[in-house]
């Protein structure tokens, strides 16, 4: 097949530790297939979505990275690309879309607004970073990021996918934070300890 001669194979073997050879080969094959056919689900709410369209269009051409098909249904998507600021009114919608996506799934937070609220939108209506609602794999900075920036983020995500192991079930865990767990911190405590800091520190991570 010739796959074992690719330079990526070494990385996979190192990261998979003491797994048997067959498992690492299988992981590599599965990851290789996944990383090169990521179907994005664009969740564009603002100007970053325009840059996303430019990235998907012919000049930059996302199809080169296996993103031939934009999936406008979460049920047939692998990557949620959240491009733009998310108001609180849209927060339950974004979470619902994430929950509707089948595993395996990843998320790219495109632009400063989606990643952190961007400072200028540190107000009553805007979520301070979508990582308070859904887990994020790659943050792409920029306001908005250029298409090259988004493509770099996608390549980073592909690298991350290449390093996953099928045996690691924690990658696919979806759980609400459990109030009985010792790791659980109630929102009031988080508010208290993060009080002097503004912006995206001033909030609880959802624990998803």
């Amino acid at each position: 097949m010739g796959l074992s001669r690719r330079p990526d194979a070494a990385t996979v073997q190192v990261s998979s530790g003491g797994d048997p050879w067959v498992a690492t080969r299988l992981d590599f094959l599965v990851n290789w297939a996944r990383a090169n056919s990521l179907w994005p689900m664009p969740f564009g709410t603002a100007c970053c979505a325009i840059e996303f369209m430019a990235t998907a269009a012919s000049r930059f051409d996302l199809a080169r990275f296996g993103m031939e098909r934009q999936s406008f249904s979460p049920r047939q998507a692998d990557v949620l690309i959240c491009a733009g600021r998310v108001p609180f009114k849209l927060a339950p919608v974004l979470r619902r879309i994430w929950q509707q996506m089948p595993q395996p799934k990843w998320c790219i937070s495109m632009g400063s607004c989606a990643s952190s609220g961007n400072g200028i939108f540190d107000n009553y209506a805007v979520v301070q970073g979508i990582d308070t609602i859904i887990p994020v794999d790659v943050y792409v900075p920029g306001c908005p990021p250029r298409p090259e920036g988004l493509m770099y983020g996608i390549l980073l995500l592909q690298k991350k996918v290449m390093n996953e192991r099928a045996a690691d079930k924690s990658l696919r865990n979806e759980m609400e934070p459990d109030p009985r767990s010792q790791l659980y911190i109630p929102p009031s405590v988080i508010d208290e300890v993060s009080e002097p800091f503004g912006n995206s520190v001033h909030q609880t991570r959802s624990g998803l």
Binding site: F88, K89, A91, P92, V93, R95, R96, D122, N123, Y124, A125, V127, Q128, T132, I133, P187, S188, I190, D191, H202, Q203, T204, S206
Partner: protein, 234 residues
């Protein structure tokens, strides 16, 4: 309210030689010729017109809140005014404990090519209530809802005065008021918790979905919940 929709030709009510549109030049900052409607309003509603001022060639009339609906209806219906386009309803609050809130209506008469700004002053500490002009302009529906959402001004006579931009169960107050902190009243985690408690399907009321004929397409459990009167959020 007229139900027939004929073509609206801008400047059609003006005399032939004046009907061509032209950008006014060398307009003074203050003063200058007031909109002829101001004089007509003074004659007809002498007791409710409080002041008339002209800034950059635009006429602002401050009127009594109680008479507002009659004034607007007359401006809309009278053949010598024909204000057939409501372009905006908004409000202004000043960072001053004494200065009253202003509610602003922007009216436009297409046949006469006129622009008129009506204002009603609402004293602080009094109930913020003005009459709704929905019965004259259907366009006022969402403008008044937005104004209610952002400033908490109640438009009496509005058929469905709910929040428009924020969700219906938003508890933190009215965001564009001067006493509203920029980041809202609740902590970020509480805001997020309340926002995520919202049910995306219940965003629309049963009535709205019935009008859009979408209610029947919902799953059974959601129809049951909406029938039981479930609302967005907590």
């Amino acid at each position: 309210m007229s139900t027939s929709f004929g073509p609206v030709i801008p400047g059609s009510a003006l005399p032939q030689e004046a009907s061509a549109a032209a950008t006014p030049k060398s307009v003074p900052h203050r003063g200058g010729a007031a909109n002829p409607s101001a004089e007509a309003l003074r004659q007809r509603f002498a007791s409710s017109v409080k002041s008339v001022s002209v800034v950059w060639g635009e006429t602002t009339i401050v009127v009594e809140g109680g008479q507002l609906l009659e004034i607007v209806r007359w401006l809309h219906d009278d053949s010598s005014q024909q204000y057939n386009y409501l372009s905006d309803i908004t409000a202004v609050e000043f960072r001053d404990l004494e200065q009253p809130l202003e509610v602003v209506w922007h009216l436009r008469s297409l046949p006469f090519r006129r622009f008129l700004r009506l204002k009603v002053l609402l004293q602080k500490g009094m109930p913020l209530e003005v009459p709704s002009v929905w019965s004259v302009y259907r366009a006022a529906d969402w403008m008044e809802r937005e104004c209610y959402d952002m400033f908490g001004i109640r438009f009496t006579g509005h058929p469905d005065l709910r929040r428009l931009l924020m969700w219906e169960q938003y508890k933190e107050g009215y965001p564009l008021r001067k006493d509203f902190p920029l980041r809202g009243r609740f902590s970020r985690s509480e805001q997020l918790r309340q926002a995520l408690a919202a049910n995306p399907e219940a965003r629309y009321s049963k009535e709205e979905l019935s009008i859009a004929q979408a209610f029947e397409d919902l799953p059974d459990d959601m129809r049951r919940r909406l029938n039981a009167g479930e609302k967005t959020g907590e």
